[in-house]
Point group: C2
Chain length 318, copies 2
């Protein structure tokens, strides 16, 4: 990969694939008293990412976007090799916002100087773990995941040294983990979380949506509809018991699972989990207290593609 790392022509975004080159650019921002906002991504950008960039630009002088597919957050059986890498269209998308001042595109060898293997038992080097928040919800099927996220975000923060960092609420647990990490590690960074961007039919935007065939795409809204029904069971019907809150959500998912089976569409739909947790502790709730901030979330497989989504209760931001 070769990209311009020197001062770019008007309208061009400098792309840094060497950390030292980026640091020189960062020092220049400091000298010019420019505040830096940071949007870490794995690329395959969609409107959700661009909304983070735009939100960052509203609050900061210069917005840095990193594109790095982080090996440490994939397990050996997961889709690291297949994860979409679409730099050219990502670059065009960022340029179209007019809000991105620099792209950081670091190499795996620079990000993991001690090397990185997906086999967790063989991993060496420095890792960051947020105990108590990493091994429930998304951390049950993916026990390696949040250690990988916390580790790479720490590294990226140390490179970019932003005043503010922007994360999408679609990854709700990630927002909670990173916010706690920033707080615990005393990082001088303001963490911001931005509401999930959705397609017209409610499907949460995700880089993995591109794996869906048109027939899969049609049924992929089931999780959002299920979560909406659970919310309605709280907001509309005033239910407080976990069982009653989640019942309509399970109902919608079972219905779609059966429809897809009956219509013999050539793929399966399968529920991974539904969850109702307290926002601060991420512990599962048997009972939702009046005004208790909570996260309704879940994961479903549509074919082999795993989709996640969430809705907040009694909370505006994660």
């Amino acid at each position: 990969m070769s990209h311009s790392t020197s001062s770019a022509a008007a309208g061009d975004i400098p792309v840094f694939d060497r950390i030292d080159d980026f640091r020189a650019w960062r020092r220049e921002q400091l000298k010019q008293n420019k505040t830096v906002g940071f949007v870490p991504t794995m690329g395959a950008l969609h409107e959700g990412h661009l909304s983070l960039v735009k939100a960052a630009k509203e609050e900061c002088d210069s917005v840095v976007v990193s594109i790095f597919v982080n090996p440490a957050q994939f397990a050996p059986h997961e889709d690291l090799d297949q994860y979409p890498r679409t730099f050219d269209t990502d670059y065009q998308s960022l340029a179209s916002t007019g809000a991105c001042a620099a792209i950081l595109l670091p190499r795996v060898s620079e990000m993991y100087p001690s090397g990185i293997t997906l086999d967790r038992s063989q991993q060496r080097g420095t890792f960051v773990d947020v105990l108590g928040l990493s091994h429930q919800m998304e951390g049950i099927p993916r026990p390696h995941f949040f250690r990988g996220v916390a580790t790479v975000v720490t590294k990226l923060f140390n490179i970019v040294q932003p005043e503010r960092a922007y994360f999408g609420q679609k990854d709700a647990q990630q927002c909670v983990v990173v916010r706690n990490m920033v707080n615990d590690l005393l990082l001088p960074i303001r963490m911001r979380s931005i509401p999930t961007c959705r397609e017209a039919d409610g499907l949460a935007m995700s880089s993995r949506n591109r794996y869906l065939t048109p027939e899969m795409r049609k049924v992929a809204t089931l999780l959002y509809r299920a979560l909406g029904a659970a919310r309605q069971s709280v907001v509309g019907s005033g239910n407080k018991e976990r069982k009653q809150i989640l019942e309509p959500a399970y109902g919608i998912i079972e219905e779609v699972v059966q429809q897809v089976k009956d219509q013999q569409l050539g793929f399966d739909v399968r529920l991974d989990y539904l969850s109702l947790v307290d926002v601060a502790t991420l512990t599962e709730l048997e009972q939702l207290e009046e005004s208790q901030p909570a996260i309704l979330s879940g994961a479903v497989y549509v074919g082999t593609t795993r989709l996640i989504d969430n809705i907040l209760l009694n909370a505006e931001e994660l």
Copy 2:
């Protein structure tokens, strides 16, 4: 505890027990284009610490010393409560160097916003672990130790944001762990390690030496003499086999153990371990290659006080 945190009179060192107040001071250094050197300590300062402060002052405009007895690096059965806390004499020692620009004296509640318990199975919040280098040597009897060190050093680095940080080579494994951590986490900090300060008879200076009675103090040099004999077996006699290198060291220690027993001094001397490892990987060596950088180290108990020491082979700095 109450200390001056405002601009101090000439000769006085400002003491910051609130992180926000320290950050304001740090911003002022940045504005004045002053480089900051950092010496993290647990207090109970001795000449070894002061040599770090002086080394820092030679290379940096402003030297910050932190004093923080870090709960996360103590196990429940260890000496956290008994660890010496001697702020007033520490302050005088630092003032006497004329090299210390600020003292950071953070509170446990600010350093561990998620709380900190010594029972590792109950710990919550963010921890930093350097895998592959933390569970040998000192990490065998103290499996919690280097996670505690890496975590608190990360936090302190994020507060102090020094250009350079100074560590004593007496804690050899700590130097290797922190150096790898700085490298892996891409911290923009130059890590420096400074040779061990010794008493006239060779005993490595340590805050724990004050626990020794005069009779214990007399025999406490056994570890340094043992390590010296092992080095002589390499440098003088050209031995390369682990067994031959360590044999004279074991000999000296067994001799002292027996002497103390025979003289019925009312305390025991006991070897914890001797170690010969590669500097980079900290793996135990069966054979020392020509010019291979290595660490000869060990730990002994003199009474209930645990003393550590080390000598480098084919290496100048850790």
